[in-house]
């Protein structure tokens, strides 16, 4: 057979592409549940690391099933708030509650457009409330979780992650424990401007709402700082007036 004729070439390539597409589609469908379970456990690890439930290393050493259990044992309440800062839905304290976190990008758009939003708040048994943040770094998105103490303005812990920041520079927001620990004990200045200041020498004046930017990672720091401010602003009406009602309950 002439394998160089046009008809043969067209039919052959079509067949190859169809077969490959079928194989890939089938695999993607088969593997999707476990990929989602991994992504969900990853989110929970980061949230609980911010909420100081367990040390980060321990959370990363734990299996997915253990993570779901630790979350179920430690979550007290998970709900969403709207643009007015009022509760507009509950997420349920079961593991399904975290799914809204996949929704960060559209919520980020909604915040910036000034439209209606459904922003998650996760209150843990230790009284810390965790909120997500999301924004643009230098090469791709950066996001993270910030845990507030029961007073709703003092930061109890953070965890930041990124898609493709430069290793050794911008990637320090995730890799370096000292960076996330710098936020602990700092406060968000709800009701004034700026809410939070992540910049060069920001700590120098003794401000409690400031953390120094990372040397060599100016753009990543800038993006993260903006993400923090945009999302803190979106939560301002919620945290700005309500001191966590569950405080000192136990």
């Amino acid at each position: 057979m002439n394998t160089n004729s046009n008809a043969y070439t067209v039919i052959y390539t079509t067949l190859v592409v169809v077969v490959v597409a079928a194989v890939l589609a089938f695999t993607a469908m088969q593997l999707k549940p476990s990929q989602q379970a991994n992504a969900k456990a990853e989110t929970l690890r980061q949230m609980m690391s911010a909420a100081q439930i367990k040390p980060t290393d321990e959370l990363y050493a734990a299996k997915n099933a253990q993570i779901l259990q630790i979350y179920a044992d430690n979550i007290r309440e998970a709900y969403t708030i709207g643009a007015d800062g009022q509760k507009n839905g509950t997420l349920g304290t079961d593991k399904a509650g975290i799914e809204l976190v996949d929704n960060l990008k559209p919520q980020d758009k909604a915040i910036k457009a000034g439209g209606e939003v459904t922003l998650p708040v996760y209150v843990f048994q230790n009284g810390f409330s965790v909120i997500p943040i999301y924004g643009a770094g230098l090469w791709g998105p950066v996001w993270g979780y910030v845990a507030f103490q029961p007073d709703g303005r003092t930061i109890a812990g953070t965890y930041f992650d990124h898609e493709s920041e430069t290793p050794g520079l911008g990637a320090k927001i995730k890799d370096e424990a000292w960076f996330r620990e710098k936020f602990v004990g700092k406060t968000v200045a709800f009701g004034s401007e700026p809410l939070f200041n992540l910049a060069k020498n920001a700590e120098a004046g003794g401000a409690t709402n400031a953390v120094d930017a990372i040397t060599g990672a100016t753009m990543t720091s800038k993006g993260l700082g903006e993400a923090l401010n945009v999302w803190f602003k979106a939560y301002e009406k919620h945290f700005g007036k309500t001191v966590n009602p569950n405080e000192e309950e136990e």
């Binding site: 070439t9 991994n38 493709s164």
Partner: protein, 203 residues
């Protein structure tokens, strides 16, 4: 085992090593060798991709229209890379490593070793030797990756596979973590390889 088959397997690991002799696949060997764990996963991924792509292309070799053979090879390699990436993402233990290796798993498709072996070997040989040739080239690549990662993790973080090896007082060398050091190390390996195997030296 006959001599030719033995040659097919051993040559890419020693005398015809894709990295140190053919200087292929340098880019990813600089990028993913900061830690042994990542290097090991990358090595295994490349071994699977080169082996399976060579096998599939060898099976198809008599039917592939010559004018579009590169495109067909590309489709096969791309399929294998996506499969490996998807499986790594689905595994509980490998998810974190896949995140860490990020784009480099996807970029296996651009690794010259894969297409190079298909063009040079798989299209002209039977499936079993092609499979072995692909696997052996992956092993040759992976071996160098692991040697480089061993030194970079040891000197750059004081650990091996994440376990503290050097005493706690050791101050990690930041240069070792940066890609240029991998190139220096690679140069040293090539030097050692040539000093050992005199046949590789140009007259």
């Amino acid at each position: 085992m006959d001599k030719k088959l033995k040659e097919t397997i051993l040559n890419p690991i020693l005398k015809g090593n894709p990295i140190t002799v053919l200087i292929l696949g340098i880019c990813s060997s600089l990028a993913v060798t900061v830690q042994l764990k990542g290097a090991l996963v990358m090595a295994i991924s490349v071994i699977i991709v080169t082996g399976m792509s060579s096998l599939i292309c060898s099976l198809l070799r008599n039917s592939i229209p010559n004018r579009v053979r590169i495109i067909v090879q590309l489709v096969v390699v791309a399929m294998m890379v996506i499969l490996v990436d998807q499986i790594l993402k689905a595994g509980e233990g490998t998810y974190a490593i896949d995140k860490q290796l990020s784009v480099y798993i996807g970029l296996i498709i651009t690794n010259c070793i894969v297409m190079g072996r298909i063009e040079a070997f798989a299209l002209g040989n039977k499936p079993i030797p092609s499979l072995l040739d692909g696997l052996a080239n992956g092993v040759g690549y992976g071996l160098i990756l692991i040697i480089v990662a061993f030194f970079r993790e040891l000197l750059g973080s004081g650990t091996l596979f994440g376990l503290q090896v050097l005493p706690a007082g050791y101050i990690p060398n930041n240069l070792v973590i940066l890609p240029p050091f991998a190139l220096i190390l690679l140069g040293c390996i090539i030097w050692a390889h040539r000093a050992y195997d005199k046949d590789l030296q140009e007259k």
